[in-house]
């Protein structure tokens, strides 16, 4: 297959080989709630064992390997639950893990470098952080419960006023400012701090940026079309 680039993931590939080739897949597994001791399992075996829709897994895992799904690959996902679970898990990962981590490193840097430039960065981050929390809260409390009720065909629980279209129109971008933060650090603003802390900070930034980009692709290019399909089926 595509040598020197990451493999295109198919159902018969061994998960262990794929992890060895791209360790970002660990995060992907974590979002799917799959343990990392994958033994000798193929992708398909792992999905069966963990009761994950195979097509959903393959499409999402391939995003981590840099492959964007084509329409018919998305249409083959016949169960949106794993997609929703995956996204919800990612939300908690961002809220409980990644953003606090960034905050922690910024605090640490602040202790040695409390200049004007740093204040600007800190203010920028705090404003951005609030935006992100609002974005995630909206999805967790309004959008996703609606998607779940739709999936369960639970008409009573469905908000009449909500729809995939509404979600699409309100879906904001939460990656751009993170990329900006990265570029401010790497290109424009010299912040004095020990290299180790700065590197860890940047490492977290890169990791989060990568995951957020995939997250948005899943929401916009996979989730929304799938939800729209269900809406059409249910409402005729």
């Amino acid at each position: 297959m595509y040598k020197t680039q990451k493999s295109f993931i198919t159902k018969d590939k061994k998960m262990l080989d794929l992890i060895n080739e791209n360790c970002s897949l660990l995060i992907c597994l974590q979002h799917f709630d799959v343990d990392f001791s994958v033994d000798n399992s193929t992708v398909e075996e792992l999905c069966v064992e963990n009761k994950i829709n195979l097509n959903a897994f393959i499409v999402i895992a391939n995003l981590y390997n840099g492959f964007f799904p084509v329409d018919n690959e998305i249409n083959e996902i016949d169960d949106i639950k794993p997609v929703l679970h995956f996204l919800k898990k990612s939300h908690s990962f961002y809220i409980e893990d990644k953003y606090p981590e960034l905050k922690y490193y910024l605090e640490k840097i602040k202790n040695v470098h409390s200049s004007r430039d740093f204040q600007l960065i800190e203010q920028f981050f705090n404003d951005y952080f609030e935006e992100v929390m609002e974005h995630l809260k909206y999805e967790d409390e309004i959008a996703f419960p609606y998607f779940y009720s739709l999936e369960r065909k639970d008409k009573n629980a469905q908000l009449k006023s909500f729809s995939a279209k509404e979600y699409r129109n309100h879906h904001t971008d939460i990656e751009t400012k993170l990329t900006d933060l990265k570029n401010l650090f790497l290109k424009h603003i010299k912040i004095k701090s020990d290299l180790n802390t700065k590197r860890k900070f940047l490492d977290t930034l890169f990791g989060l940026e990568f995951d957020l980009k995939i997250h948005s692709v899943i929401e916009e290019k996979i989730l929304i079309p799938l939800i729209e399909k269900i809406e059409v089926q249910q409402n005729g």
């Binding site: 297959m1 595509y2 040598k3 020197t4 680039q5 295109f8 492959f67 964007f68 084509v70 004007r116 430039d117 600007l120 960065i121 920028f124 404003d127 951005y128 751009t176 400012k177 990329t179 900006d180 933060l181 570029n183 401010l184 290109k187 424009h188 603003i189």
Partner: protein, 194 residues
């Protein structure tokens, strides 16, 4: 990601030949991501997913599927197709390619061919990262919260011009959000800290 990184595919049954090409072409002054495929179908799948600049082709793979090959070429007219020749092929096949080189070709010559193709594409020119005076003006007003329209009338230019400046500012600084540009402007002393 680096805008100047180009995707290059080798369509070739022999892994050894691929490895050789990979090692040689990596010495080009341009940055490439390499892909290895050994069938036209695999190439088609890949091209759906990636923007491919150059495909190095063993004509043997396409000679019996010239119609499919021609279709693919038509579909991706921006892509350049280079034939790697290591046997006799009919001219009707060879003329399908934008460039050809024999497998015995010197590495430097192969790189020259590839570089020439890359040179022709202007989209990848290295940019001067310094903001011009006009761009600095636009940034100043942007950071103060003015809309494109307001800036246009302040500077007495069209909205279109403001948009172009804005795009250039974002490209040069790699910062896309207004809040980020404001941080940039303050840190560079373009606007004072209020």
């Amino acid at each position: 990601m680096d805008k100047c990184r180009r995707n290059i595919v080798v369509l070739e049954p022999s892994k050894i030949v691929y490895e050789g090409l990979y090692t040689s072409i990596s010495k080009s002054e341009y940055n490439f991501s390499f892909f290895y495929v050994d069938s036209l179908i695999e190439l088609e799948t890949l091209m759906l997913k990636r923007e491919i600049s150059i495909v190095l082709v063993n004509p043997g793979i396409v000679q019996n599927r010239l119609k499919d090959f021609a279709n693919l070429k038509k579909q991706y007219s921006e892509t350049r197709w280079i034939g790697i020749i290591y046997a006799y092929y009919d001219n009707s096949i060879l003329k399908q390619f934008d460039n050809l080189f024999p497998i015995t070709e010197e590495v430097t010559k192969v790189i020259r061919i590839i570089n020439k193709i890359c040179n022709n594409k202007t989209s990848c020119k290295q940019q001067n990262e310094h903001l011009t005076e006009r761009e600095t003006d636009v940034l100043k007003w942007l950071a103060k919260g003015l809309s494109n329209k307001e800036i246009a009338s302040k500077l007495n230019v069209s909205i279109h011009t403001v948009n172009t400046h804005r795009k250039n500012i974002m490209d040069k600084t790699s910062i896309r959000s207004l809040a980020g540009l404001t941080v940039y402007a303050v840190s560079k002393g373009i606007i004072p800290l209020e």
